[in-house]
């Protein structure tokens, strides 16, 4: 039971990091990405590559992973964010599909479909962290750091610009905000932080393959943010916890077909997303729908 709980908390903190970083662009900048799992994967593969071939120190693996995530997101964001929001959805969906092919084909780095095994534990100043009872401090610690960084960003003038863009892009531009630049920077920051979660994930499981970084994962992370509450601080964490506990709850309910847990989980959160959008777009943590104010 203790091992089960430890594992659950570690996974929740890793997925919370992913949800929090996605929420940063979705909730505060109004950018909808279907490629979040790509940057998660790029972080995992880049970190693993460094750890297996050069050095497992987190002071090497994490910066390299962040750089890889940042550069890739820059290539995507620079052109796609100059134009309307729909273009980014389309471009990110395309990138996600392309990335799965690359993750399965680039055997030298990703190990192909079979993936990579024997990924070294995290090396923090010579200390090897692999026991779940130690690892939990790292993942929760990283989550807290990411939360602090994003919280500070959101409440800085940069964050104000982001929120202004979300509320009215044309008004933000009319008051001197370089909208494409601000959006691009936010995507790059978000992707770099996402890559950190990838490093932790790979090292924790000591095994990764493409299945963790497919479209389903991007969708899962998006569902976590939306169900928890877009643009709120606690929402993504609540969403991540809820959706990761969901399979266990389903498995307690004997009347449901146990071979279909994955599908039932997806049906529940798919339905949850649609219903929330109709009745409570702010998510569980967010404000109730206000149908009167704010119409323009």
């Amino acid at each position: 039971m203790e091992a089960y709980l430890l594992n659950l908390v570690i996974l929740i903190s890793i997925y919370s990091t992913l949800a929090v970083t996605l929420n940063f662009i979705m909730g505060y900048a109004g950018i909808y990405s279907l490629a979040h799992a790509v940057f998660f994967g790029v972080g995992a593969y880049a970190g693993t590559f460094m750890a297996m071939h050069f050095n497992a120190s987190i002071f090497i693996t994490i910066p390299v992973a962040m750089l890889a995530g940042a550069v890739l997101s820059l290539i995507l964001a620079l052109p796609a964010l100059r134009v309307r929001g729909e273009y980014f959805v389309a471009a990110s969906l395309g990138l996600q599909v392309l990335a799965v092919t690359i993750f399965s084909e680039w055997k030298a780095v990703t190990g192909g479909i079979g993936g990579l095994i024997g990924i070294p534990p995290l090396d923090i100043l010579g200390l090897e962290v692999f026991k779940p009872s130690q690892f939990i401090f790292v993942t929760v610690g990283v989550l807290v750091i990411v939360l602090i960084i994003i919280n500070r960003l959101v409440h800085s003038s940069f964050g104000r610009s982001l929120r202004a863009i979300r509320d009215s892009e044309s008004a933000a531009a009319a008051f001197g905000k370089n909208v494409p630049l601000i959006k691009t920077i936010s995507v790059v920051i978000s992707s770099a932080l996402t890559a950190v979660a990838g490093v932790l994930y790979a090292s924790y499981l000591s095994f990764i393959n493409v299945e963790s970084f497919m479209l389903d994962t991007s969708v899962l992370i998006m569902a976590m943010v939306i169900i928890g509450g877009t643009g709120t601080q606690a929402g993504p964490i609540v969403g991540a916890a809820l959706l990761l506990i969901l399979p266990s709850i389903i498995s307690y309910l004997d009347f449901l077909p146990q071979t279909e847990i994955g599908s039932i989980q997806q049906i529940i959160y798919g339905l949850g997303m649609a219903l929330l959008m109709i009745y409570r777009p702010g998510g569980i943590v967010g404000r109730k729908k206000q149908s009167e104010a704010g119409k323009e």
Binding site: G94, Q266, A274
Partner: protein, 289 residues
């Protein structure tokens, strides 16, 4: 000969892509609803046809069931999801997420009923005929192209000559016209969903008989639809048609140079190139805000 073979396959794929994408483009253009569940409409039509067919009711009933299923799904979604959302706020985000959520539900419900693996519909038309030395073409290729020609012919007449069609086109050009012309937006959007959903049906049925079906295909359908809409130019039905055809051809001809797992990468490359070089698309106007 290989190039010719691929060209014909490409036209077949492209014709089906064009039909599907124009369906999405028409809905998006005239209602501004980012109908991500368009992929789910495809899945519903395809599996209904498959189900009716394997149950032994034959092709005609299958086609009727698929068409009815697609239309009913599109209309229900519009009535019970999009309309309530748009009544209050209707931002791009809420509509997109709700649509996306419904897509996930359909994918998994279909997966639970029919399994997550590939299924194919066996028809006598699936078998390829050797036209020339080394050139194999299944009758379905001709049927796809004929279907596309007929559907687009009807759509063209409809958009050009009927009042309703004119309103749809006017809306795609300028969404604010609803108010100006005093059109009934509810009625217009129901029409857009009906037509858009019907356009998916040929592709859904023929795909079942050629490449096979899989509940997760909806995302592929959406990628193609989005790519064709953007490459063709948002709001331009003709542009989307051309782009869909071009994407199908490009995917197929790319096989001369790369393995089949890279075909979707070709779509992405074309989409990305357009976003960089010509964001307004082939026939679109400015893509700025």
């Amino acid at each position: 000969m290989l190039a010719l073979q691929l060209m014909i396959t490409g036209l077949q794929t492209g014709a089906l892509y064009a039909l599907t994408a124009v369906g999405f483009s028409l809905i998006f253009g005239s209602t501004r609803i980012f109908h991500f569940a368009h992929g789910a409409t495809f899945i519903i039509a395809a599996y209904l046809f498959y189900f009716v067919n394997v149950s032994g009711f034959g092709v005609t009933l299958g086609v009727i069931a698929a068409t009815a299923g697609a239309i009913v799904f599109g209309l229900l979604l519009n009535r019970f999801v999009y309309v309530p959302i748009q009544r209050d706020e209707g931002s791009f985000f809420t509509v997109f997420v709700a649509s996306f959520g419904i897509g996930i539900v359909i994918q998994n419900v279909v997966g639970m009923i029919f399994g997550r693996g590939y299924v194919t519909v066996q028809t006598p038309l699936s078998f390829s005929v050797e036209l020339m030395d080394g050139l194999y073409v299944s009758p379905l290729a001709w049927i796809s192209m004929l279907c596309a020609a007929i559907f687009f012919g009807i759509l063209w007449c409809f958009l050009k000559y009927s009042n309703l069609g004119l309103s749809l086109r006017a809306l795609a050009d300028n969404p604010d016209l609803v108010r100006v012309f005093g059109l009934n937006p509810r009625f217009i959007s129901s029409c857009a969903f009906t037509i858009g959903s019907i356009l998916v049906v040929p592709a859904a049925i023929i795909s079942g008989a050629t490449t096979g079906l899989n509940p997760a295909m909806g995302h592929h359908v959406m990628l193609i639809s989005l790519a064709a809409t953007i490459v063709g130019g948002i709001g331009s039905v003709a542009g989307t048609l051309l782009a869909g055809l071009a994407l199908g051809l490009a995917e197929s001809l790319a096989l001369l140079y790369v393995d089949s797992q890279w075909t979707e990468a070709v779509t992405f490359a074309i989409l990305f190139l357009f976003i960089i070089v010509r964001p307004s698309g082939l026939l679109g106007r400015s893509a700025a805000h």
